[in-house]
């Protein structure tokens, strides 16, 4: 009873920030320094770090600027999750500590470390360049400077949320596939590509999309939703990734990639049987040679355990397929009619 009362009235307490330290020029390996300071309720992690730098240990290095969640400089992992230090309340972190009263502060993941909490953003910037994440105007040169390029509200809504991105790289740090392969495009870059690709003023949509559908591009995302879940601006990043994929398949016909073939197989199978025909999915995605080379040893093991998916003729269609197929095809007509009216 008194405990609860104390917690309620308490406004200051000693809290430890356990900070990741590593200076590659001096240290042979990373370590943690504990800084225990008295912190008032309402203080952010960034202000606590600033206090430590000014009063306790000037050698602690981190990036920060606006202190208001706008510039995106102070991305770091706080108690294991990538977020902004300037918008994170120390008090809110106390319930998330693995060890009571100790807040763990580490650099963002998936980017090269420079020192302590500072990571190298250059690889991310390089990827922005690789995927041409800027607008090249469609306006003829003779009109530039003489005419406004108006954007309709409807068009703006398509990328309104995406423009909220402040490039803090929290999503990059949390990305599953980037962790598995450093050449992967990464969520922040995909979000920016989506934003550019739906902008009607842009002239290089096809160049960008051509790069996005290559290896390590948009098809390598594994739909884990970690990026979206961590986004400090609550941007639905997966919707942007799906938007690029939809564009690649439906609108521009960039179908000749394993990712697109894999996705389209679902549509095909649902229309035919109502069920996914898993046995031929690898072949339809990557061809016979790849399947034999990559999956044959496992297929043998699976046959021995009777785990192989049934061959296509033995996949039992869902009940009532006749009516279902009619509906499905009628919906296809709806979609076609809509696409026609869009083209007009």
């Amino acid at each position: 009873m008194t405990g609860a009362l104390e917690l309620h009235t308490e406004e200051k307490r000693d809290i430890t920030l356990r900070v990741f330290r590593f200076n590659p020029q001096v240290d042979s390996k990373p370590y943690f320094d504990d800084y225990t300071i008295q912190i008032e309720k309402g203080i952010t992690v960034l202000r606590s770090l600033n206090y430590i730098k000014e009063h306790v240990d000037a050698s602690v290095s981190f990036r920060a600027f606006c202190q208001a969640g706008i510039c995106g400089s102070c991305g770091m992992r706080i108690n294991g999750i990538s977020k902004l230090a300037c918008t994170t309340q120390v008090w809110d972190e106390l319930s998330k500590c693995r060890e009571a009263g100790i807040i763990k502060i580490e650099p963002l993941r998936n980017m090269p470390l420079i020192k302590d909490l500072i990571v190298d953003m250059d690889p991310l910037v390089e990827k922005m360049k690789q995927y041409s994440n800027w607008i090249e105007t469609r306006m003829p040169e003779s009109e530039i400077g003489k005419k406004e390029f108006l954007v309709s509200e409807e068009e703006f809504r398509k990328y309104d949320k995406a423009t909220d991105c402040i490039l803090c790289a929290s999503c990059v740090s949390e990305c599953t596939i980037l962790r598995a392969h450093k050449e992967y495009v990464s969520p922040a870059v995909l979000l920016k590509s989506y934003r550019m690709n739906v902008d009607g003023r842009d002239a290089i949509h096809d160049v960008r999309l051509g790069e996005l559908v290559k290896d390590h591009g948009v098809w390598d995302c594994t739909h884990c939703y970690r990026c979206q879940e961590t986004c400090v601006k609550h941007i639905p990043i997966m919707e942007a990734i799906h938007g690029i994929r939809e564009d690649a398949i439906e609108v521009r016909g960039v179908r000749d990639t394993s990712g697109a073939k894999h996705a389209e197989a679902f549509m095909e199978d649902i229309e035919k049987k109502g069920k996914l025909v898993e046995a031929t999915l690898p072949i339809r995605t990557n061809g016979v040679a790849w399947t034999l080379q990559n999956l044959l040893p496992m297929a043998i093991k699976m046959i021995l355990k009777r785990r192989t998916p049934p061959p296509p003729p033995l996949v039992k269609p869902a009940k009532g397929m006749k009516k279902f197929r009619e509906m499905f095809r009628e919906m296809t007509e709806h979609v076609r009619a809509e696409q026609k009216s869009h083209k007009k």
């Binding site: 599953t176 390598d220 679902f266 069920k275 509906m327 009628e330």
Partner: protein, 282 residues
């Protein structure tokens, strides 16, 4: 006996038949009855939504309408099917024009998507409706000597605005289920991470790296087995385990159980009855 409509996931109909087989064994023991929806179709596996958003709404509006026709909630035992069908439900509930368009077509089959049925994971039904206390009382063979790594998988947690049962950063329902069955849930960093399934055929090397990390940690913390509520995660962690660990130069292995098998074991069914012998890693 509480009744639910049960969605037939493609993978459970083909590669992981042991999931539905084990549920069939114990459902009555726990006072629940699953009515299988033989008319239900593939949800689109988190692909149809961008291949054709309209077909995605139709197919899953229909899947839910089949349950609504019976006046029952829809229960799903695959994470990705769960996330996919719930995403469609959210779209239909938030977009009246889309709902109308879908219902116009569903009329042909005498169906209507109303939005009344809830779409729930098997794990949630066990936790919320049956309850851990009731489950504890039904346990015949407590898993008391087992140290278990709970692997939740992505699509039972994220996106949280569609799922919303567990905290995606600190999920606990599967841990509590392990405890109710008498086992010890281990602190497991990879519990809310990805298995890599959805890129297996597109970026295999990356997927196997992802899977290997989760497997390695479970081996390191000396878990007796990994348990997962998702047959897709199981397919990677069990079926692709040897390949993933070979790529990561790890010379070891760890069994992976489905949630439904773990429940079955504690309720006294044998490995053979539950289909555990069908796993690649024994």
């Amino acid at each position: 006996m509480k009744r639910y409509a049960y969605y037939l996931s493609c993978i459970n109909e083909s590669m992981t038949k042991e999931v539905d087989r084990s549920i069939d064994l114990w459902q009555n023991d726990l006072g629940i009855e699953f009515v299988k929806l033989h008319e239900s179709t593939c949800c689109g596996g988190s692909n149809l939504d961008y291949v054709s958003p309209k077909h995605f709404a139709l197919v899953n509006g229909r899947n839910i309408a089949l349950a609504e026709k019976l006046g029952l909630d829809l229960v799903v035992s695959c994470n990705t099917c769960l996330m996919t069908i719930r995403t469609a439900k959210k779209k239909l509930d938030e977009t009246p024009e889309l709902k109308k368009e879908v219902n116009e077509l569903l009329k042909k089959e005498g169906l209507e998507y109303k939005g009344t049925a809830n779409v729930r994971h098997l794990l949630w039904v066990l936790a919320e409706d049956v309850g851990f206390e009731a489950i504890r009382q039904k346990v015949r063979v407590p898993l008391k000597n087992y140290r278990i790594a709970p692997f939740y998988g992505c699509h039972i947690l994220r996106p949280s605005m569609v799922l919303g049962k567990d905290d995606p950063l600190e999920p606990s329902t599967l841990d509590m289920m392990i405890e109710a069955l008498g086992g010890t849930p281990l602190p497991y960093e990879h519990k809310n991470r990805c298995c890599g399934f959805h890129t297996l055929l597109v970026a295999e090397e990356e997927s196997l790296n992802v899977a290997a990390e989760a497997l390695e940690e479970a081996i390191e913390i000396k878990a007796d087995f990994i348990v997962t509520p998702c047959p897709l995660c199981h397919t990677v962690l069990d079926g692709y385990q040897a390949k993933a660990l070979r790529q990561a130069n790890v010379n070891s292995s760890i069994p992976v159980f489905h949630l439904s098998e773990m429940v079955g074991l504690a309720l006294g069914y044998t490995e053979k009855q539950l289909g555990i012998k069908r796993h690649i890693v024994s």
